[in-house]
């Protein structure tokens, strides 16, 4: 750690991990309900669990990204953060929004639009919160000694993510338009600007962990984010095939979303090649595991599994089935959760001064959580394909089919238990590191 203000990152990471635990708990509630055990229905009906599960995902990832930015930007800009106090104010307001929204979901207070369930009054608080965050990051960057490509790409991703929240706040009378612009937020986040954030964090980690020249890494960063936008922006069309808009999206969405895996393939090749080129001297191997893991698993989860159902000819049958849940789980895990785990694993020793990165626990956490998540993805995939065949082709009744696939949710719960065990092991390490200290400033990274 080079600057005192970087310590702020720790508290964003801690908040992020707390929400992740809650997200997993609600995931289990949903898994059991799908398997036929919905004993909590009267307190936490499925739609509440679903809204909580999705929104906690968004908030914990954003909190992780914000923590990453508070750590990376001062180091890249070579100066302290402009205001540490305001950064804590921002964290507290983020926590207030999250807690208020989650409690509200249990009392039927929400907007009822998938991923954007946070009710309108709280949306305004989100806007204020994000404006404050962006101001702190951009002013620090602007006043800094240098403006690196890594910092610019990361900030650009965060800024666009903030701007893209706005189309989700407009009310439309037509469900078609509502859905159309909801994807401007959700798709352009996860298959667009969030990839910039991921790319920025990945590039920072590769520079630090591999020792490869910054110029080389940042050049490829441009190529990757270029490929991301080239395919991802028009790839939004894959959400427009069957929601009641023009057929032109079948062609445009089909072609460009089929190109989307290229960006993830480039990211995976880039990370692996930089690792090969590098000196392999950095002692923090567990951070390297998560970094390379994120690049590779995101290619499989977001790239390949996305491609599996993105063509209109396939999607007409899979649209609105568990096949989507299959892709979503491995994609979010690989691309975003793992990159947050990577930056946490890299920064914790630097912020706390404790070098616990050789622990076996850390490696078991990595493998268990990944194996568990891959198992969950397979369970969702099998359930999804069976659902498509029985319901969409054989025209069987929805609930009859759901009964048939209950068994796959038992498999899902078993795999989720492996996954959750991995996460718990990661958190034990997180807690063992303790809180950040100024003494860590003097320690060589």
């Amino acid at each position: 750690m080079k600057y005192k203000s970087q310590k702020v990152a720790y508290w964003f990471f801690a908040f992020s991990m707390l929400l992740l635990v809650l997200q997993i708990v609600y995931g289990f509630i949903m898994g059991f309900a799908h398997a036929g055990y919905d004993g909590l229905h009267s307190i936490i009906p499925f739609n509440t669990a679903k809204a909580v599960h999705l929104n906690l995902l968004v908030v914990w990832l954003l909190s992780g990204f914000m923590g990453a930015a508070y750590y990376i930007i001062p180091e890249e800009a070579q100066r302290e953060l402009v205001s540490v106090k305001l950064a804590y104010v921002q964290l507290i307001s983020l926590a207030v929004v999250a807690v208020a929204a989650i409690i509200g979901f249990h009392f039927n207070i929400w907007e009822g639009r998938k991923f954007l369930e946070i009710p309108r009054p709280l949306d305004y608080l989100v806007v204020v919160n994000v404006l404050l965050f962006m101001a702190l990051i951009l002013i620090t960057l602007f006043k800094g000694k240098r403006k690196t490509t890594t910092a610019l790409v990361l900030s650009m991703g965060l800024l666009f993510a903030a701007l893209l929240y706005l189309p989700g706040m407009i009310f439309f009378d037509s469900q078609v338009l509502d859905s159309f612009f909801r994807w401007w937020v959700v798709h352009l986040w996860v298959e667009g600007v969030w990839e910039l954030i991921m790319g920025g964090i990945l590039s920072f980690l590769l520079i630090k962990l591999t020792g490869v020249d910054r110029e080389v890494i940042e050049k490829w960063l441009y190529v990757i984010v270029g490929l991301t936008f080239l395919s991802g922006i028009l790839g939004t069309g894959h959400h427009y095939y069957y929601i009641g808009v023009n057929k032109i999206w079948l062609i445009v969405g089909g072609i460009f979303s089929a190109l989307e895996p290229l960006a993830f393939l480039a990211m995976a090749l880039f990370a692996v090649n930089m690792y090969r080129k590098g000196e392999k001297k950095h002692p923090n191997k567990i951070a390297l595991y998560w970094t390379l893991g994120a690049a590779i698993v995101s290619f499989v989860g977001a790239g390949l599994l996305g491609f599996a159902h993105t063509l209109p000819q396939t999607n007409i049958y899979t649209h609105g089935t568990l096949v989507t849940a299959m892709h979503a789980h491995l994609a979010f895990w690989g691309a975003y959760a793992m990159i947050v785990f990577a930056i946490i694993s890299y920064t914790l020793p630097n912020m706390t001064g404790r070098k616990l990165y050789d622990s076996t626990r850390g490696r078991i956490a990595f493998w268990l959580s990944n194996i568990g998540m891959i198992g969950m993805t397979v369970a969702f995939g099998v359930a999804g394909v069976v659902q498509v065949y029985l319901e969409r082709i054989m025209k069987m009744d929805f609930m009859v089919v759901q009964k048939q696939i209950e068994i796959h949710f038992i498999v899902l719960i078993i795999c989720a238990t492996f996954f959750a065990t991995g996460i718990i092991l990661f958190l034990i390490d997180f807690i063992k590191y303790g809180t950040p200290t100024d003494e860590a400033l003097e320690i060589k990274e």
């Binding site: 309900a33 799908h34 919905d38 229905h41 009906p45 499925f46 739609n47 509440t48 679903k50 809204a51 979901f105 039927n108 929400w110 907007e111 009822g112 639009r113 998938k114 009378d173 037509s174 469900q175 078609v176 338009l177 509502d178 859905s179 159309f180 110029e215 940042e218 050049k219 490829w220 441009y222 984010v225 270029g226 490929l227 936008f229 080239l230 922006i233 028009l234 427009y240 095939y241 069957y242 929601i243 009641g244 808009v245 023009n246 057929k247 032109i248 079948l250 445009v252 460009f256 007409i316 649209h319 609105g320 568990l322 849940a325 025209k395 929805f398 609930m399 009859v400 759901q402 009964k403």
Partner: protein, 153 residues
């Protein structure tokens, strides 16, 4: 070999071009001439139905236009589907589910008992009827209970 400057030009140029095409296509596909949703049929009752749909986060379990929770049935063609099942009494069946004070649990999977008023339930039905008529580029036949080809979206 590619320079950093060229890489940046690729990023900025590619982004700008695809973004402009995206905006162009959005304007084209949302223009009145391309409307596939019969937006002229969005009555006050349909809008009220949509608001009730959102207020109760129905999408948290059901899917509509293929989007939602994957836990409860797709409702895009729900009026057709229940008409077929209940000999043309689909609307009444939907209303009785929405107005029920006790939990509705087909095959054991529970739905929250909303206990809506007759007017509210009618608005939701109006919303579903409007949704059911949208031209969905072929998806309508996939989620419809009627044999493929027999109905026009």
């Amino acid at each position: 070999m590619l320079s950093k400057k060229q890489a940046r030009a690729f990023f900025l140029g590619g982004t700008l071009v695809t973004f402009l095409i995206f905006i162009g296509l959005t304007i084209y596909s949302l223009s009145p001439a391309q409307d596939q949703s019969h937006s002229e049929n969005i009555t006050a009752s349909v809008i009220k139905g949509k608001k009730i749909w959102e207020k109760n986060n129905c999408m948290g379990c059901h899917t509509l236009l293929g989007e939602g929770g994957y836990y409860a049935p797709e409702l895009t063609k729900v009026v057709d589907r229940l008409n077929q099942r209940y000999d043309g009494n689909g609307e009444a069946a939907i209303k009785s589910i929405l107005m029920s004070k006790g939990p509705w649990q087909p095959h054991g999977r529970k739905m929250v008992a909303y206990g809506m008023t007759d007017a509210e339930a009618s608005d939701v039905v109006a919303f579903f009827k409007w949704i059911g008529k949208i031209d969905l580029n072929g998806f309508g036949t996939v989620v419809s209970p009627l044999a493929k080809g027999k109905i026009k979206n």
